[in-house]
């Protein structure tokens, strides 16, 4: 098994659209947002203009603590620079895809507490990676 650590993940600016520009602008300020529905109260991710649980268009962004736990992960190893893709379940409820960084890939475990670690794209946005607490 690999013992590599990744400190500087490659980042490309995400494709931003009218529905997601607020989310990505917040990342540049170090804020992680999810959408909350004022009709049914559910939170969802990725952000949409209509709630995927009740179809109400009365949805708004809320800021998250940035903390969560690893729901699952997988280290891609057959490559010169392994990386750890993961799903993290946020304290606020929704689960989101990410990469786990600044860590020993062989010490990761499901259920492990993690916190968001934004990496700037240089184009007015940052990618929400996570690192173990």
């Amino acid at each position: 098994m690999s013992e590599q650590k990744v400190s500087k993940p490659k980042v490309k600016a995400p494709r931003v659209n009218p529905e997601t520009s607020t989310f990505w602008e917040a990342t540049a300020e170090g804020k992680l947002l999810v959408k909350k529905c004022n009709a049914c109260g559910e939170k969802h991710f990725y952000p949409r203009s209509l709630c995927p649980f009740c179809f109400s268009d009365d949805t708004e962004y809320m800021e998250c603590s940035g903390r969560g736990v690893i729901y699952s992960y997988s280290v891609t190893r057959r490559t010169s620079e392994p990386w750890a893709i993961a799903y993290v379940t946020l304290e606020e409820g929704p689960t989101m895809m990410t990469n786990l960084i600044d860590c020993d890939f062989d010490q990761l475990s499901i259920g492990q507490p993690v916190e968001v670690a934004f990496v700037d794209t240089g184009e007015g946005s940052a990618i929400p990676f996570f690192r173990p607490l």
Binding site: P14, N17, P18, D57, S74, R77, P94, N99, I127
Partner: protein
Amino acid sequence: MTIRGKAYIAGVYEHPLREATGKTVPQLHAEVAKGALEDAGLSKNDVDAYYCAGDVPGMGGINQAEYMGLNLRQIDSTETGGSSYVVHVNHAAQAIAAGHCKVALITLAGRPRADAKEKYRVRPGGGAPADYGFEGPFRPTVTNMYGMAAMRHMYEFGTTSEQLAWVKVAASHHAQYNEHAMLRDVVSVEDVLNSPVIADPLHRLDCCVVSDGGGAIIVVAPEVAADLKRPCVKVLGAGEAPKHLNGGKVDLTYSGARWSGPAAFEEAGVTPADIKYASIYDSFTITVVETIEDLGFCEKGQGGPFVADGNLISGVGKLPFNTDGGGLCNNHPSDRGGITKVIEAVRQLRGEAHPKVQVPNCDVALAHGTGGLLGSRMGSATLIMEAPGA
């Protein structure tokens, strides 16, 4: 059967905008869906079938179904250009008449004028699906996406790499008799575990082959079948369902087979205990384990112990599977294996599988397809068939 009088159009909606700057294509589809549902006096959660064409971004309608939070029994992305949506009404009426769904949603949306003006310009065909920007940066691959499903299954149920390896071992036992199979060597559990890890916890031998080739199927009416010399296999039942990330309520321990399987069994009037042979989509070993559980061949979480010790090997175990060697050893043409699953099931039901793997008295068989990613969104489809003359 005919559609005459079997289906009604209950709601319609035309989007008022003629230049949709500031809106995305998935959003426009959702807005017209909302409008038509409100016109009909129905809610989103009444919808159990979704029809769309190439103007929807993503893999058929699955990404859009995820965007809208739809839970479906029927999904159809037939693309025939501008006529698609008329075709969809016909297909929806057929599905309703057959009892496969009750409330079908058909959408069309796009923004070529806004695309030409805004920086969000997308390529024809709807561009990137809404999820793309939230996943692309993290480099999902086919293997790490199935890997995450396997990791979670192991975490929740104690499934082991040895148990996953047994799926490959069984496929290899079958492939040795298939002269066309890409991989004909019988492998052991140790061989699988000793092959390099591609993405945790999946080894190279947990993955299907990459192959060229293809397949085709002819489906005919009973009166045509009656005049043919070749033995014809009867379709007993079918079920289909997409599965997605459900707005962030993620559960990777099951597939869409959880819904497509029971629908197919109900229509066919048989139970898992009646299935003598099963073609189970085997993009990866974990795909088989989760699918077998979802189809009801064992309890959820017991797929690992179920597939171990040769239980999937024809002549040895209780559920002979993929007797052509499957995607793991034989063939995965164009990175899509669903058609070979039906083909080998037909061979079994005709009694034309290789004698070393032919299941005796094979009267009822199942074929199951999984498309997309166990780790995010997928299409699942189950087909149950009966032997000629059974």
